[in-house]
């Protein structure tokens, strides 16, 4: 898969304070990448660096073969950005807001493209209304449409559901989900871990430096190993001893009739353990892998970084 975003030791300082420190990232075409981190971690600075709004202090970033700081105009043409606040022209109507940006991006057949996005977002009927009269959710949808109006190859979404009520958040999240599979990179900065887990292929945890980057599943494996839960009709001390004698689990816990095992290679170990339990007279009711939530992973990473 073609690497669309590449950064190498990308660093940005503000008056001596390091906002982003030696960021190394590779993001492939079509990937939805989530950047997580506490307030002040450097997420917005990263987005601003990658969309050529600010220049790096050192290091480099390449977007679709164009170098940040050298080919900024080309990068801006292929990048769309949803900033933390919608930043719409509130006195102007929805149509004029989109048309203005479509013209700035030199979109071919701008009126058709504006109509397409207003229809897609259910705003066509209200296209002549001043944006000031829109709800927060509608404004956010319009701002996403503005970021997409020129069909960018890279879409940066900075906290797209922050400050929205749950209903509006869902509308925006559903729309982002619809954008999946269109082949563009979606670079999502968020505090919302459920949102990140649901939408992102890979996740990076940033706290000035990139602490970790991988799929949520791999992060979990790296951090906690893999754990299997085996539920039995009745779990006896003999069965526990039988499993222990196999020496396959790095940790073994009993909770009522449930056995929780930490395994290095569950695909190999689980069938052996299940067989031994059955031979020991156990009735297996359920075998499942236990997963840590992204929240646990995130909090653990941030704690480690401190």
């Amino acid at each position: 898969m073609k690497k669309m975003i590449l950064t190498k030791d990308l660093t940005r300082r503000f008056d001596g304070t390091v906002a982003v420190d030696r960021l190394n990232l590779e993001i492939a075409e079509g990937e939805i990448f989530g950047l997580l981190g506490p307030n002040g971690a450097g997420k917005t600075t990263t987005v601003r660096l990658l969309s050529c709004l600010i220049a790096p202090t050192s290091g480099e970033a390449i977007i679709n073969g164009y170098k940040v700081g050298q080919d900024d105009m080309q990068i801006r043409r292929i990048v769309g950005i949803l900033t933390e606040s919608p930043g719409l022209y509130e006195r102007l109507d929805a149509y004029t807001n989109l048309e203005f940006y479509a013209n700035l991006y030199e979109v071919e057949n701008a009126p058709k493209q504006v109509e397409r996005y207003l229809n897609m977002l259910g705003l066509w009927e209200r296209r002549k209304e001043a944006v000031a009269r829109f709800s927060k959710g509608m404004k956010q949808k319009l701002a996403i449409a503005r970021a997409l109006i020129h069909e960018p190859k890279v879409l940066f979404l900075d906290e797209p559901t922050a400050a929205l009520d749950p209903e509006a958040s869902k509308v925006v999240r559903d729309f982002i989900e619809e954008l999946k599979g269109e082949g563009r990179i979606i670079f999502l900065c968020t505090h919302n871990l459920d949102e990140a887990q649901r939408l992102c292929d890979r996740i990076g945890v940033l706290k000035t430096q990139l602490i970790a980057v991988d799929t949520p599943e791999n992060l979990q494996r790296q951090m906690f190993g893999r754990r299997m839960l085996i539920r039995l009709r009745q779990l006896t001390p003999e069965m526990m001893a039988a499993v222990r004698s196999l020496n396959l689990a790095t940790a073994l816990e009993q909770a009522d009739n449930q056995l929780i095992l930490s395994l290095g290679d569950p695909e190999t170990a689980t069938p052996i353990i299940v067989r031994r339990l059955v031979e020991s007279g156990g009735d297996i009711l359920q075998v499942t892998e236990l997963k840590h939530s992204l929240e646990e992973i995130y909090l653990n990473l941030i704690k480690e970084a401190q």
Binding site: L53, T83, S85, L92
Partner: protein, 271 residues
């Protein structure tokens, strides 16, 4: 240049929705037209005394006698001289239009962008900073110059109808042509750049307008000695004025362009 016009059109759509700006842009010029034309109309139609040719209730103010004796007024009817001196004073007001309108437009536009937080998505587009600055500048300069010239033209037409020829001729004098064609456009640039500088520091439109309004003070300062008869407007005065404003514009433009950089706008401009 196409993108500059996209900015200009958007600014006009946005800014002229504000009734205050629209009223200021229309009422001020109307007032400035009505004052010289109206006063000359009534002066010309008032009964005259035989000696001075002035209406009985019009006296030459103290301090003006020496102006009336200047060689350029030799042999002229005293009433015509008084009218010329008065029209010259009133025409000063027309120089306020290129200061005030672009100032209001630019302040409203830039502080408005800050308030709406619309600068960041705008700066993320493939738009160069000079295109953005040029768009914002022209959005104020074009209407200001059009309004200045049209209202000056209407005043000239009005004076041609109500005033005697030697008074009406002032409007086409080199002095006022210099003021309108050179000084006025230079003043619009001053106004826009000052607006950019103020807008980078201030987040409230009204406060920014009030601060920008201070820009007319030097002009008012110049009008006072003219009104008191201590100073006579002349080609030399406007030529020197134009040169000073041009130099000021260069300095201000240098400062304005330094302030109006993508990164500075995003990071340094107070929100």
């Amino acid at each position: 240049m196409k993108k500059v016009w996209i900015i200009v059109r958007k600014e006009w759509r946005d800014v002229f929705r504000d009734k205050m700006i629209l009223l200021t842009s229309l009422l001020l010029p109307l007032l400035f037209i009505a004052m010289p034309v109206g006063i000359i109309y009534f002066m010309e139609r008032a009964p005259k005394t035989s000696g001075s040719g002035l209406p009985p209730d019009v006296n030459v103010p103290s301090g003006f006698e020496h102006l009336m004796r200047r060689p350029e007024f030799a042999g002229m009817n005293p009433l015509a001289v008084v009218e010329i001196l008065m029209v010259n004073q009133f025409l000063f007001y027309f120089l306020m239009i290129p200061l005030m309108i672009p100032m209001f437009v630019a302040v409203y536009s830039i502080v408005g962008e800050k308030q709406q937080r619309s600068l960041e998505p705008l700066l993320a587009t493939p738009l160069s900073v000079w295109q953005l600055l040029a768009g914002k500048t022209l959005a104020g300069v074009i209407p200001a110059m059009l309004i200045t010239w049209i209202s000056f033209g209407i005043a000239a037409l009005g004076l041609a109808l109500v005033a005697r020829p030697e008074v009406a001729a002032i409007m086409a004098s080199p002095m006022w042509l210099l003021a309108m064609l050179i000084l006025a456009p230079l003043l619009t640039i001053t106004a826009v750049v000052v607006a950019v500088i103020i807008s980078s520091r201030v987040n409230d439109i009204r406060l920014a307008e009030q601060l920008g309004g201070l820009l007319v003070l030097p002009l008012v300062g110049l009008m006072i000695p003219v009104m008191m008869g201590k100073l006579l407007v002349s080609v030399a005065m406007f030529a020197i004025g134009s040169a000073i404003v041009a130099l000021l514009d260069i300095v201000l433009l240098y400062l304005g362009v330094k302030l109006f950089q993508r990164e500075t706008i995003l990071i340094r401009w107070s929100r």
